[in-house]
Amino acid sequence: MNAKLSNILQDCLQAMESGISLDECLTRYPSLASDLRPLLESAQAARTAGLLPVPGNAVTRGKARVLVHAARLRQDKRRPRLHLTGAWRMAVASLAVLAFLVLTGNGLIAASANALPGDPLYAVKRTVEDARLSMASDPQAEAQIQEEITTRRVEETESLLSEQRVEDVEFEGLVSEQLPDGWRIAGIAVLVTDQTEMEGVISIGVIAEVTGQTQPNGSLLAERIRVEDQESGAPEGGSTPEGTATEQDEETPASEQTDDNSSHGSDDGDSEEDSSGSGSEDATKTPEPDGNSD
């Protein structure tokens, strides 16, 4: 009975998809009409639940976040870090924090939270970040802290620029636009000169690490821009498919927030990262922003 009903249901659903009304379907199977009607009605309802418009810019909004993760995982794969596991990791981290607390006191840590590069307490802030990273209980937590830190580097740079201070900074983010005299990276206009050291091939849609100096006129002068190669030893002048890049992505990856609700996932994976920008040795010198290959 159930198998029969199941097959007839299939016939009716197909018939209805081709435009036949529910009642017309039921007249074909009068003996089963009372069983079929509620099922077909809820099938109609289930179908309407899928008829929702997709917001136009939904695609681009999450893309920066996904690409930043990809860049991080790629770096991680390239430069595996010495892993302190379990108890060792805890012990080392706890000792570091303990020593720090004894030496400095908790107030100092709190006071350092808003420090910017060049401020006396900035080193404290960075040490606390490193300690938090090494104490992360699992790779997901660590990835989240890393994301926070990445966001913070960008925010610090923005603060320095708005205060028109001259300081050395480093940050990373999505390359979203080519400017007449540089690139927009993580939402910040980055000035490129012939003094700027270019590592890797920069194009829209890739993640770049910037080392540079904020200028009194509110611009950022790049000393070095580093883009992870797509593959080790990839030929120079790799492709820059502008079509797949996120040209509209004006928002910086920095503004992305990891939603705690949805991130405690069933998958697990590592996403650790060295915070320093040193690494791949195959630096390629590209003098001008139009070193962007064809």
Partner: protein, 183 residues
């Protein structure tokens, strides 16, 4: 009727494992809407669906990092991750109930009577769907949300066609009860 893209290019999976930026951007562009629609069907809310969809792609990168990955269909794999992410979210919601699924429906206030009625029906429907078991929601989302065929759905769910048909009947009957009960 939309149909599921057939098996994916094996080089897609290879480029995922290399974390190749351009290839990942292309994969994202190709599958985003399909995954988004599925998630949106399951959770109702637009912003939440966007967020979970990003998580799906990030989850897929993380899995590729530890050399897990799809055997055949990249989309099938992504939908599978999406199903788990939604289930995780719902579990979280049970532990921290805030009635988000209902409250997070669009905030614009409808004024016309038919708009209000439409909105009310949608709300009921989303509520009723959320009351079903995870498998029941999954099968309805695939068959009626995505419009996949029985065969495609059976492949995605790793079940026999007969089992999918039986699950579909149970899901539709349960949905009817919930819809009736909420009126």
């Amino acid at each position: 009727m939309p149909s599921m893209p057939k098996s994916s290019n094996p080089s897609d999976i290879e480029s995922l494992r290399r974390f190749d930026q351009h290839a990942i951007a292309a994969i994202y562009d190709r599958y985003y809407l399909e995954v988004y629609r599925y998630v949106r069907y399951r959770v109702g809310d637009e912003m939440l669906a966007e967020d979970i969809t990003s998580e799906v792609f990030i989850g897929c990168l993380k899995a590729a990092q530890v050399h897990q990955g799809p055997n055949k269909s990249l989309l099938g794999w992504l939908i599978g991750i999406a199903n788990h992410k939604v289930a995780d979210y719902v579990r979280h919601l049970y532990r921290h109930p805030v009635d988000e699924l209902l409250e997070s429906l669009p905030a614009d206030i409808p004024t016309l009577p038919e708009e209000i009625e439409h909105r009310e029906r949608r709300r009921n429907l989303q509520w009723a769907l959320a009351q079903l078991t995870n498998d029941q929601q999954h099968v309805l989302a695939l068959l009626f949300g995505q419009g996949y065929s029985l065969e495609e759905t059976a492949t995605l769910m790793n079940k026999k066609i007969q089992a999918v048909k039986a699950l579909r009947i149970r899901a539709l009957a349960a949905l009817q009860r919930k819809l009736g009960g909420s009126k």
